[in-house]
């Protein structure tokens, strides 16, 4: 009898203890849930707000103006949502944690880039057939209207050179085939500078940044040496340059996509010609109709202390840049994307004047901006990924 009572009593205390434990766990879980929400909400609310994000390379949202008009067209609420998203506490750490988790789960493709063992690369997209045709027509008619030789250099991007490291079957543009196709299509109308095999043969060297979409100066030099004779200059030997290793880790645009820390940061090398910068002037036109800003160096060293370090080469992309090199030689016109910015420093000693045109920032027909007949040769320099998705080369075919 007594024994039984004990068991019942024991069971009762056991049940009571269990109930107490479970309700304590419930309290803890509710407090943690709302604690996290209130804490992160408050930190976001009270923290000092940045106005610019270097990693995202954009200005962050301001708190919207609250008026009836803004309320009715929805800009108050969407503005608040953008504001919270942009200024959320420890924003970059959350993104970094996400890419680390995804990588641990086996996903190498994130936010449009592939995280490989030693580098991050970006998938090159298939060209839109109609836009590509218009671009090629533009190049063709531009070239045919000119007496000067027109060279086209398409630089494969890192995803092509290291495509063997991609996950199996990863969708990716076949850049070799794409280059051949462009070459065939343009035929004799341009002189095609093929740097594919040169880049491929240097793939064990540091020719592409690990965290950025550009080539390194060594990569540019590889192309520079490979095409020199074809373009009519004798390439300088590597030893002719003073190579400056700049300080400071460079984390490029691919890094910014995933903020993943597992890839070694890059560093930027500047290749100087010993006596080049004596008489050199650089005229930068920030818009086609503005007065130029004059500089005495092709390197904009201020950029070495910010995140966007690649802009040390000729500053950020500008519609028109003219370089008077101080050397004796012909005049070269370069129609280009940003790959050319680190390529130009190598060319200085071969030309007296180099003009760079970035069609993305020019809305007028080219011949209303410059006299193309003025140049002894023209180089169209793009990376394959930029070229295949470009929508501006067709402007070459437009007459003013």
């Amino acid at each position: 009898m007594n024994n039984n009572d004990d068991i019942v009593a024991n069971n009762k205390t056991f049940a009571a203890g269990q109930k107490k434990f479970i309700s304590r766990a419930a309290l803890l879980s509710v407090l943690l849930f709302f604690g996290v929400l209130i804490f992160l909400g408050a930190v976001t609310f009270f923290s000092e707000k940045e106005s610019f994000s270097e990693n995202a390379n954009k200005y962050l949202a301001d708190f919207p103006k609250i008026t009836w008009e803004n309320y009715f067209d929805g800009t108050v609420t969407s503005g608040i949502e953008d504001y919270v998203a942009d200024h959320f506490a420890w924003h970059d750490s959350w993104v970094r944690a996400k890419s680390t988790i995804e990588l641990a789960l086996g996903r190498r493709e994130q936010n449009g880039v592939y995280i490989l063992k030693n580098r991050i690369v970006k998938r090159a997209e298939e060209a839109d057939e109609t836009i590509l045709q218009k671009n090629l027509d533009g190049i063709r008619s531009f070239s045919e209207a000119l007496d000067a030789p027109v060279y086209l250099m398409l630089v494969p991007t890192s995803v092509e050179i290291y495509s063997d490291e991609l996950p199996k079957n990863a969708p990716n543009l076949d850049q070799r085939a794409f280059m051949d196709r462009v070459k065939d299509d343009l035929g004799d109308s341009v002189e095609f500078l093929d740097v594919y095999s040169a880049m491929m043969s240097q793939r064990d060297n540091y020719i592409y940044y690990r965290t950025d979409h550009h080539w390194t100066t060594l990569g540019a030099y590889t192309a520079y040496s490979a095409v020199g004779r074809k373009m009519g200059y004798e390439p300088l030997d590597e030893t002719a340059f003073d190579i400056e290793h700049t300080e400071g880790a460079f984390n490029g645009t691919f890094y910014s996509k995933v903020l993943y820390e597992g890839i070694e940061s890059d560093s930027i090398d500047l290749w100087h010609l010993p006596q080049s910068e004596n008489d050199l002037t650089v005229e930068v036109y920030t818009s086609v109709d503005s007065e130029p800003e004059i500089y005495d160096s092709i390197y904009f060293r201020d950029y070495l202390s910010v995140k966007d370090k690649y802009s040390v080469f000729l500053g950020s992309n500008q519609p028109i840049v003219t370089i008077n090199t101080g050397y004796i030689g012909g005049k070269l016109l370069i129609i280009k994307d940003s790959y050319a910015n680190s390529y130009v420093p190598l060319l200085l000693s071969h030309y007296s004047e180099i003009m760079l045109i970035d069609l993305r920032y020019i809305q007028l027909p080219l011949d209303s901006v410059i006299d193309t007949e003025d140049y002894d040769s023209v180089l169209i320099l793009y990376n394959v990924s930029g070229f295949s998705t470009d929508e501006n080369l067709k402007k070459l075919g437009m007459a003013g």
């Binding site: 309290l27 919270v84 959350w94 190498r108």
Partner: protein
């Protein structure tokens, strides 16, 4: 406003809950009403007034029905006003473009949707800035109109008592957890709770668990698997191989389930935190053993709404066989149309209507003799076919997608190599999607909390917190986070 968004999660939710918790019981419905308006106005600064107006009309119709308690013809008129208004709102905002387009296509006319003409007039007069190209759909309109009708119809049928307090009725309509994406909570289900409800620790904890579960379904499963479908959906269907087509639609199959049921879980969880018990909306639909069963497990509150307010009033199955089939076809065509104003949705609804009738006629009996894995596969495959109709943009697209699933595509844009690649990148995600849809997760939770109640309670605490933090990682990155019910 939507739940899976930083502003809701980190500001709206904690602020509302803390105020709610410390407010005396009397003030709580007022808070629910005000927060519901803010929540709705957040995304619909203009249409919130339409919601308010319809709430006022339904409330008044209810009060009048109550006053004329013994005059049936007057009561009937009140009901008619309410139903016409709600159906009218749907007709104007959801279906007027569709109707006009079809009339124009049918008789070759060039009529402008009168609603658009009205928009233009209002713009000219008051500079409202309304859309003159197409009628913008007020978010959640299909949910709140159906909920309001459940009140006036049930009141007419004297199944429920009148709600005398405007605040109580308005807080039911604008109850923010369920206003934009369901579940369709009937008035009768929460009538008592609107007057009096308890909020206690175990209920709040239960709500937190449901909410975190729903949030994880939406952010971690639906959004991630949905990226696969988004990429494949945008391809040229004549250039994808059969494996890619199957992968794409299977990805959507899981996306829509985890997105929708995740939303319902979040709504039910939020309801619990406020002291409400909302009905279950999804019950592992993908392990159903027949199409009829699937619809008893998928979007349960919508199915039962149509059953109570359309199917049964039409006579249901208590009439001749032919009439029953007619009723079924009507219900399923409406069910399809409810999901959006497009022939794809109508066809999708009729497709299920026909399948349900075939199962009724006798196929269901044969089906029961098959082993259950075969029955599950049969149901699942037919449901997957249905999703092709549901999520392609036109009937033509649906046809070419079906063709691709049976090997008509040439694989130039994406072939089996692509399919293998996508699978290899998403193995843990796919495994989680399949196993959880199969019920493994909920069985595990049930088993553990029965067998080791203390252990389960202890483990759930860090698990929930971790899930919330991981969801925050994805929300902060904000790469892909669609709201899928903008056409409902």
């Amino acid at each position: 406003m939507v739940f899976s968004e930083l502003t809701f999660l980190y500001y709206f939710l904690p602020i509302v809950m803390v105020i709610y918790f410390f407010l005396p019981t009397k003030g709580r419905n007022i808070l629910i009403f005000i927060t519901g308006l803010i929540f709705y106005a957040w995304g619909e600064p203009f249409y919130v007034f339409i919601m308010l107006l319809s709430t006022a009309i339904d409330y008044t119709a209810g009060r009048l029905m109550d006053r004329w308690d013994d005059d049936n013809s007057k009561r009937k008129k009140c009901l008619l006003v309410s139903v016409c208004m709600n159906v009218g709102l749907l007709a104007i905002f959801k279906y007027s473009d569709f109707i006009t387009d079809n009339i124009n296509a049918l008789i070759g006319s060039d009529i402008t949707n009168p609603v658009l003409s009205l928009n233009k007039l209002l713009n000219d007069l008051f500079d409202f800035g309304l859309n003159e190209k197409q009628v913008d759909l007020p978010i959640g309109i299909s949910f709140f109109t159906f909920q309001s009708m459940s009140y006036t119809i049930d009141l007419y049928l004297k199944k429920i008592k009148v709600q005398k307090s405007f605040i109580n009725f308005a807080s039911y309509v604008s109850l923010f957890p369920q206003i934009v994406a369901g579940p369709i909570v009937r008035y009768s289900e929460v009538a008592d709770e609107l007057e009096e409800r308890t909020v206690n620790l175990s209920k709040i904890n239960c709500g937190v668990s449901m909410f975190v579960r729903g949030l994880s379904k939406k952010i971690l499963l639906a959004n991630n698997i949905g990226m696969i479908w988004t990429e494949i959906k945008a391809m040229d269907y004549s250039q994808i191989s059969a494996s890619v087509a199957w992968l794409g639609i299977l990805a959507f199959t899981f996306q829509i389930y985890y997105d929708f049921s995740g939303y319902s879980d979040m709504a039910i969880g939020l309801g619990k935190m406020l002291g409400f018990d909302f009905p279950k909306n999804f019950d592992h639909p993908y392990i159903s053993q027949s199409i009829s069963e699937f619809w008893r497990r998928w979007h349960i509150t919508m199915g039962s709404w149509f059953k109570s307010y359309v199917y049964i009033p039409l006579g249901g199955s208590r009439c001749s066989a032919l009439k029953t089939y007619r009723n079924l076809i009507i219900v399923w065509a409406l069910t399809g149309l409810w999901h959006g104003a497009s022939w794809n949705f109508v066809l999708w609804g009729l497709y299920f209507g026909v399948l349900v009738i075939i199962e009724r006629i006798g196929w269901g009996k044969i089906l029961e003799k098959l082993p259950s894995p075969a029955r599950i596969i049969y149901t699942f495959v037919l449901v997957v076919f249905g999703w092709v109709l549901f999520d392609t943009d036109t009937i033509g697209d649906a046809a070419s997608y079906f063709a691709a699933m049976f090997g008509a595509g040439n694989g130039a844009a994406a072939n089996s190599g692509y399919a293998l690649y996508v699978i290899s990148q998403n193995i843990p995600l796919i495994a989680a999607c399949v196993l959880l849809a199969g019920g493994l997760g909920s069985r595990l939770i049930d088993y553990c909390s029965r067998k080791y109640p203390k252990g389960a309670a202890a483990v759930s605490v860090p698990l929930k917190t971790a899930a919330l933090l991981i969801c925050t990682c994805y929300l902060a990155d904000a790469a892909y986070n669609p709201f899928m019910y903008f056409r409902f």
